[in-house]
């Protein structure tokens, strides 16, 4: 994540790569220390996805179980876990917006902006620390899932590849949230703002149920949007190709998910760095 530069404008000099990396590490460490010393945050942000896991497994599991592809081995939780990992990745990324607005409101960002540090490091440090935190939550969810009956149907390598893909997606999503945080600026308002992109993407997707029963206009969206693509890629990796829509391949879905994450980064990294430069808190 090098600083984005616009050499034509005076004073927009990019920091050197080693400096940028060093600054990102400093900020990441700061954010992670904050997380560690505020255990309520970790506990609360972990309870929510685990609550979802229990609710969906036991409330919907019975009703939905019958309509699942064979790859789920007849267990809704096998179908659900890959979806919930991606949901957790998307919800967890919301922390990026919250953390940024909090720093903005406390004048911390002003201090950072007055320092001779890499301009991209505050945002990159934020998104990197959030992806580490989300990785922890994803791992914990997987552990709880296994305890209550989840079994991967492919290989351990497939399982880890799936979790890694969810983290890539979480990282990309964090940059969308960074942009939202810098636009909204207010810590209270941002709570509502982060759900605007998250809810439609998570619910109009294959996270909880196969998309086949949705009306065709919704399905056209649901089948092709990044959350479904990523969830399907995870299911392919964890449950096997039989979990995918006819005609889709695991490698194809993984490539498409990575492409989406790459596109999100290509748009929202420069956008948020630009906003960061201009932000007046």
């Amino acid at each position: 994540m090098t600083a984005v530069t616009a050499p034509s404008k005076p004073g927009r000099v990019a920091a050197s790569l080693p400096q940028t990396i060093r600054d990102i590490i400093v900020i990441t460490k700061r954010n992670l220390l904050r997380n560690l010393r505020l255990p309520q945050l970790i506990i609360l942000s972990t309870i929510q996805p685990i609550m979802f896991l229990f609710l969906f497994t036991y409330v919907f599991g019975g009703a939905i179980g019958g309509t699942l592809p064979d790859a789920a081995a007849g267990e809704y939780i096998n179908w659900l876990i890959p979806g919930l990992l991606v949901q957790t990745a998307a919800f967890g990324a919301g922390q990026t917006a919250l953390g940024l607005t909090e720093d903005l409101s406390k004048g911390v960002i002003d201090r950072f902006r007055s320092l001779p540090m890499a301009r991209s490091a505050v945002l990159a440090g934020r998104t990197v620390s959030d992806v580490i935190r989300n990785g922890f939550v994803i791992g914990l969810m997987m552990a709880v899932g296994i305890l209550i009956g989840f079994r991967y149907q492919t290989s351990l390598a497939g399982l880890f590849a799936g979790m890694a893909l969810a983290m890539v997606f979480s990282f990309a999503f964090s940059w969308i949230m960074a942009t939202i945080g810098l636009l909204v600026k207010n810590p209270e308002a941002v709570q509502a703002a982060i759900f605007l992109p998250v809810f439609p993407l998570v619910f109009a997707s294959s996270v909880f149920v196969p998309t086949q029963t949705m009306p065709s206009w919704l399905r056209a969206f649901a089948d092709n949007q990044p959350v479904t693509v990523t969830v399907d890629a995870l299911r392919g990796l964890i449950l096997g190709e039989g979990a995918l829509l006819p005609g889709n391949t695991v490698i194809g879905q993984v490539a498409l998910s990575l492409f989406y994450s790459g596109m999100i980064l290509a748009i929202f990294v420069p956008l948020s760095v630009r906003l960061y430069r201009r932000t007046v808190s």
Partner: protein, 335 residues
Amino acid sequence: MTNPIVRVQGITKTFGDTVKALDDVTLEFEPGIIYGLLGPNGAGKTTLIRVLTTLLRPDAGSAVVAGVDVLADPKTARTKIGLAGQFAAVDDYLTGRENVEMVGRLYGLSIAESTRRATEVLERIGLSDAADRQVKTYSGGMQRRLDLAASLVGRPEVLFLDEPTTGIDPRSRIDVWKLITDLVDGGTTVLLTTQYLDEADQLADRIAVIDEGRLISEGTSDDMKDMLGGSVIELSVPEESQSETIEALRAIVGSEPLVHGVTREITVPAAEGPKTLTAVVRALDAASIIPQDIALHKPSLDDVFLTLTGHPAENPGADEQQPNGRRGRRRRRKS
């Protein structure tokens, strides 16, 4: 001034279409002093600090800090400055030491150097004992001091302090004052903003009075007080006697008395000190006006502010009357 450390020329910044936060502000000062930017809330003080610390681009004008053009080369400028904003920009969940070390690292110091420097700065700021406690356990005053420590860690040539004592208790305030004076004795140059007249009076070697985005006066604290021509008389009278009193005062002192927008307190210059006071008391007595309160005192910066802006510092915009010919600039070289 041969070698000003800060030179601001014609800085103008408009927010939206109409709000002129800064209107053609020009000022400069030499190294090694405390320069006070005095003005009410919303006067443009913070906006000027934000321009000088590279946080905000002005619409027009230029600014040079420690020999670096902050608009053309903000990156180099950032290596020369330290900023402590209006709120303590420190992390509650980190320790004091971690906060300062982090800023040191972001100034580009090595790990060893930032550790050493943090110890040094925390010692200096009197927070050594609390250094390894989380900041959430600090008092408001300690947090401000820590914030100051963080702004010092990169050995800035110019330190910008935006209302360094706003919102802290009186004792901590005196601690912060002492700290700032010590810093300047150590060779740092400080530009601070304040809305407290006594703070500018106590600390600043030079003061710029800023109101509604314009620099309306500049000089030493004594320069400003001299503008009022010695002592002033402050008095208050019953509401019904107000206009009669003003008329009587006008006849005695030969200028328009100033009336506080809220307290209705009347202020007039007393060129001849006690003699003027006696004359005023006689005139009131002759008119059978019994003042509720009357006092003769050396002019405070409050009086200066009232004279310069036509409204008291605590009550911006309450009374838009124009000052009567006292506006002007005075400069005196500091020896």
